[in-house]
Each structure stands twice: as structure tokens, then as C-alpha cells.
């Protein structure tokens, strides 16, 4: 290394660390990362066919047999069901703990009506741990699932920006 460069480097490092030490606190800038990506134009269909996103359950097809709950090795699934007067079973609420799920496919393989399946959405960053519990109810199923749905999966990231 040239000597002049070295001296310059020392002053630069002093200046840089001074900016960090004396500078104001970290400023945050919020930027939105959207998927499908606006720039590249890629959508879910451009992903690999076997891409595993997180789990979801189509409650209109679910019979409430409970096979998946017994099959799950990490107890990520929870179901609240009631038996109606006509003998059929109605699933009131179906909770999927996406933080526990490690995509082993035990529930998907065992489901007799194939109501449980993987989506293509994979962005799971949330602020609170409880947001990772995807709770599907009969009435507001679409509204709840919309937070994680594949079509408008919008993830808000915060980047730390120095002035």
C-alpha cells in the first residue's frame, strides 16, 4: 500500500468512525417489497412447481376428521369443531402455527380430501410471534387468509439508513 493512501485511509477511518460516534441516531426508512415483483415482473407461477410456502386449509372442503392433528409431529395444528344435528361436522376454527411448522408434509399426505396444502407464499417475517398463528375461521376465512394469501403478499421491511 502506498504511504499516501495509508495516511488517507487513517483519516478516512477516523472520519468514518466520527460520523458513527457523533452522528444522530439511526434513521429508519420504510420500504415496501412487493411480490409479485414490480421490477422483474415475476409471479408465483415462475417459482418451482414443488415450492413449499406455508400451510393453509380450505375449510369448505375440510371434513374435520382430525387426522392431520394427530399426524403433526410438532403440534402446529389446532382445531375447534362441532357436530351438527344432521350428523355432519363443522369446523369453526382451524389454527396453524406457522412458526412451529417445518414443512414435513405429514398432514398434507394424510389428508383424505386434500384440503390442507402448501401455498406459494413464503414471506413470513412478522413483528409479533402471535402473528405467525394463521387462524382460519369459517366466516372470515378469506379475510384472515388474505394476510398471507399468495396474490397480494406484501412484506414491509425496514432498512436502517445512515444520514
Amino acid at each position: 500500500m502506498n504511504f499516501n493512501e495509508l495516511v488517507k485511509m487513517i483519516f478516512r477511518s477516523l472520519k468514518m468512525s466520527a460520523r458513527y460516534i457523533f452522528g444522530s441516531h439511526v434513521r429508519y426508512r420504510v420500504s415496501i417489497e412487493q411480490y409479485p415483483d414490480i421490477v422483474s415482473g415475476k409471479t408465483d407461477h415462475d417459482l418451482f412447481p414443488k415450492t413449499k410456502g406455508f400451510l393453509t386449509n380450505d375449510l369448505s372442503r375440510c371434513t374435520g376428521c382430525g387426522e392431520c392433528i394427530t399426524a403433526c409431529p410438532v403440534s402446529a395444528l389446532k382445531m375447534d369443531k362441532e357436530i351438527l344435528s344432521d350428523g355432519t361436522t363443522k369446523v369453526n376454527q382451524f389454527d396453524i402455527h406457522l412458526g412451529r411448522c417445518y414443512l414435513c408434509s405429514a398432514c398434507v399426505d394424510i389428508c383424505p380430501v386434500s384440503s390442507i396444502d402448501y401455498t406459494k407464499a413464503f414471506e413470513l417475517a412478522v413483528e409479533k410471534p402471535n402473528d405467525l398463528i394463521l387462524s382460519l375461521t369459517g366466516a372470515e376465512r378469506n379475510a384472515k387468509a388474505g394476510k398471507f394469501s399468495t396474490k397480494d403478499s406484501v412484506r414491509i421491511r425496514t432498512y436502517e439508513v445512515r444520514r
Binding site: M1, S17, A18, I21, V26
Partner: protein
């Protein structure tokens, strides 16, 4: 009375060790874009106590009797010599006019501790690590040389190199001997940089950790901090006004020491990105010539203005 003064200075020194440990960690954290210590106490102020308390229970102490005389004495010298240095610096200049306020004693303490420490470590280290250790020694020696050259500049102004002379020159230039001439200012800056070369004793602590015990290494880490404060106080004494010793001077002294320690921490944060050889190159090609230049400049300055 003298015992009270000694106790006062030791308490002050230990307080500075705590303050400096906390300050250094916070500055490092801020420069590395971290929060730093924050768990214990207000703003992490209790962390240094918790950290040291943990250190005593982390590893069992080695038996002192099993260490041997050489190792015992070297450890004692390493820990006690900065305390002695600081005591001579603060008490000697004010109450001890013999031998010029103990300036000669300071040099003796410094040299003895360095020689014993290095002799001990050199006898303990393995062959493959001796080269690294020798590099550190050369680096420290270079730092001392630069500091000595810069030290001669205010010594010219004071008319002597002893603490007593310096103390009386401070009355002529209250607080700011460094601003009395451009040469003194340059010498102050250069010697502050050279302190970084002297005080970077962290590798030596690592050697101790390897060859003695981590609990002792903790003591030696304290010793390094003690050395930082003792030598920085010396720098302040020479270039920035002495600690007169009274309670009323204490806030000014603390403020000066804090500013100097902050500058040292800043240099310490900024410079580790530079390799050892590059740092040596800068010391040889820039700092040492700058020190000699300041010395010549001071001679001309005194010739024209006195």
C-alpha cells in the same frame, strides 16, 4: 494525611477504571452500530460490575503457591506498577520535590515493569509465538520513542524534564501548555497517537490467559486499563496542565482525562482496520518525523519569541 491522599488517589484511579471500561465499550458499540451494554443498571452502567463478578466465578483461581516466584512477581509488578505510576504522578508533583517530583521514579517504574513483564512472558511463550510477541515489543518501543521525542518539546519550554518543572510551567500557561506554541500542539497530537501504540497491550493479556489463568488475565485486563489511565494522566500532565491535587481542581481534571480517554478510544476504534505493518509504517514515516519536526520548530520558536 499522606495516607488519606494516597487513598483518595487510589479511589479516584479505580473510579476512572470503571468509568473508562464503560465508556470504551459504549464508544466501541456506537462506532460498530450496536447498542452496547444495556442489561445491568441504568443505561448499562452496572454491567462492568456484573462482568467482573462473573469473571471470578468463571474459572477457578490457580493456586498462588503453585505459580512460582517469577510468575508471581511478574503478575504483581504488572498490576501494581500502574498504580504506583499514578500515585507518583499525582502525589509526587505536588508534595514530593525531591528528585524533581519523582519524574525519575516514574521512568524506573515504567521500565522495570516492562522488563519484568516481557522477560516473564518471553520465557513462557512457545517458539512459534515469539515472533508475534517481538513485533508487539517493537511496536511498544517505537511508541515510547515517539512519545519521548514529543515529550522533549514541553520539556524545552519547562527548562527541565521533571514533574516539578512541569508543574511550575503550568502556572505560566494555565491548563493549555499544548496551545502555547504550534510545536507543542503538534507534539501533543503526535504523542496522543503514540499512546495508542504503547497501550495496545491486549495481545499480552491473551498470552497471560493462555499461560496462566483467565482470572489472572482479567486482573491483567484491569492492569491494562490502569496503564491507560496512568499514561493518559501523564500525557495530560505534560501537555494539558497538572492535577493540582485539591478537590476544586477535580472536576477540571476529570473533564480533561475524559476528553483524552475519549480521543484514545476513538483512535482505538478507528485504527484496527489497519494492519500492524501499516501502522508501523505510519509510525516510522509520519509520527516520528512529525515529532522531530515539532522539536526543531520549538527550538526556533523559543529562539524568536524569548
Amino acid at each position: 494525611m499522606i495516607f488519606f491522599i494516597i487513598a483518595y488517589n487510589i479511589v479516584l484511579l479505580l473510579f476512572f477504571v470503571l468509568l473508562y471500561s464503560f465508556m470504551e465499550r459504549k464508544i466501541q458499540a456506537r462506532a460498530q452500530h450496536r447498542v452496547g451494554v444495556k442489561q445491568m443498571g441504568i443505561y448499562g452502567s452496572g454491567h462492568i460490575f456484573a462482568d467482573n463478578w462473573k469473571n471470578f466465578y468463571k474459572n477457578a483461581f490457580a493456586d498462588w503457591r503453585a505459580l512460582g516466584f517469577l510468575r508471581q512477581s511478574s503478575l504483581a509488578v504488572t498490576v501494581l506498577s500502574p498504580v504506583l505510576f499514578y500515585l507518583v504522578l499525582t502525589i509526587g508533583a505536588n508534595y514530593f520535590p525531591v528528585f524533581g517530583g519523582g519524574g525519575l521514579l516514574l521512568c524506573m517504574i515504567l521500565l522495570t515493569s516492562l522488563v519484568i513483564e516481557n522477560f516473564f512472558l518471553f520465557s513462557q511463550t512457545e517458539n512459534n509465538e515469539r515472533l508475534k510477541m517481538r513485533k508487539n515489543q517493537v511496536r511498544a518501543l517505537l511508541g515510547f520513542t515517539i512519545f519521548f521525542v514529543c515529550f522533549l518539546v514541553p520539556a524545552l519550554r519547562a527548562g527541565g524534564a521533571s514533574l516539578w518543572d512541569f508543574k511550575h510551567t503550568q502556572a505560566e500557561f494555565p491548563f493549555l501548555l499544548a496551545l502555547s506554541s504550534p510545536a507543542a500542539f503538534l507534539a501533543a497530537l503526535v504523542s496522543l497517537f503514540s499512546l495508542f501504540f504503547i497501550l495496545n497491550l491486549q495481545p499480552i493479556v491473551n498470552y497471560h490467559e493462555k499461560y496462566t489463568n483467565s482470572a489472572f488475565a482479567f486482573l491483567l485486563l484491569c492492569a491494562r486499563r490502569l496503564w491507560v489511565i496512568a499514561l493518559t494522566s501523564y500525557w495530560i500532565f505534560v501537555f494539558w496542565g497538572a492535577h493540582v491535587g485539591g478537590v476544586f481542581d477535580l472536576p477540571f481534571y476529570v473533564a480533561r482525562l475524559l476528553v483524552a480517554l475519549f480521543l484514545l478510544s476513538w483512535i482505538g476504534v478507528a485504527l484496527p482496520g489497519i494492519r500492524n505493518s501499516n501502522a508501523m509504517e505510519v509510525a516510522l514515516k509520519a509520527l516520528l518525523p512529525a515529532g522531530i519536526f515539532s522539536l526543531i520548530l520549538e527550538i526556533f520558536w523559543m529562539g524568536f519569541f524569548r
